[in-house]
């Protein structure tokens, strides 16, 4: 476990760069993390997914599975993969300051 400075805050991250304490997350941090993941601008569509993930994250702070996101947020599979290309499962979790999803589907 290490700490890093991002968007003017010091946060704890694991070896893969995921925030380990979801309560340290801010929207400004999400913007910076998104840039690091190759997403230059977070649109309303991105925020819909991020907000849904934050709201439905369990007590352990794990991000919902992709299937849970598409069936719960109204964002289709196609949209989800175009908003967060090349690996939405990890990208949504990381940008939303959550842990990786704990389910398979």
């Amino acid at each position: 476990m290490t700490t890093r400075a991002i968007a003017g805050k010091i946060v704890e991250v694991n070896e893969e760069g995921f925030l380990t304490d979801a309560s340290q997350w801010t929207k400004e941090i999400a913007v910076e993390l998104a840039k690091e993941e190759g997403i230059d601008l977070l649109t309303d569509g991105h925020w819909k997914v991020i907000d849904f993930a934050r709201t439905s994250a369990g007590n352990g702070g794990a991000s919902p599975t992709l299937r849970a996101i598409t069936s719960g947020s109204g964002v289709s599979t196609k949209e989800l993969f175009s908003l967060f290309p090349k690996g939405p499962a990890k990208k949504v979790a990381k940008i939303a300051g959550l842990g990786k999803p704990e389910g398979c589907v």
Binding site: L66, T70, S71, S76, T77, L80, F81, V105
Partner: protein, 167 residues
């Protein structure tokens, strides 16, 4: 971020309900993690892409040594479903319904919907040329996600550098 993504390819050769899911679940997980995913359907695996068959995949209890009575909610430990019972009319339909319900309880979609999810997520799907000829199928018989009918050699070429998993 600019390097080539890891590539993974699944050869789906089985058409039973239980053997349809491994490639779908692994493929979905791979897409979620940003991998380049290819699915190749051959022999009985053609049922997964055949629009007349995909909703009718079944699971037979006969000679299935892993299927125990306890799966039906009868607490009998390791007692299997006797093969003599498995041959009775309706037993395959019953076992299939049981498995479908268990899958659905986990919020895992039915095969047709799952295939659409994979296609929407960018998986490339191909039908085996020899199986197409053998089973007298046409491109119109396939679900939307199937991009083409290809030969074994073409599949080998298009999966250069991929990890290949045979199911």
């Amino acid at each position: 971020m600019s390097e080539e993504p890891r590539k993974i390819a699944f050869i789906c050769s089985k058409g039973t309900l239980d053997m349809a899911y491994p490639a779908l679940i692994m493929g979905w997980a791979a897409l979620g993690n940003g991998l380049d995913v290819t699915l190749f359907f051959t022999f009985w695996g053609m049922d997964l892409i055949n629009t007349h068959r995909v909703d009718r995949l079944e699971l037979a209890p006969v000679a299935n040594t892993s299927m125990k009575m306890s799966m039906m909610g009868v607490k009998t430990g390791n007692l299997g479903i006797p093969n003599i019972m498995g041959v009775l009319p309706g037993m395959t339909a019953f076992a299939t319904k049981l498995m479908r319900d268990k899958i659905s309880d986990l919020d895992v979609p039915p095969v047709r919907e799952f295939m659409q999810m994979l296609a929407d997520a960018g998986a490339k799907m191909y039908a085996c040329k020899m199986s197409v000829d053998m089973m007298d199928l046409k491109k119109e018989d396939f679900i939307d996600g199937v991009q083409d009918i290809v030969t074994a050699a073409e599949f080998i070429d298009m999966t250069d550098g991929a990890q290949i998993i045979f199911i």
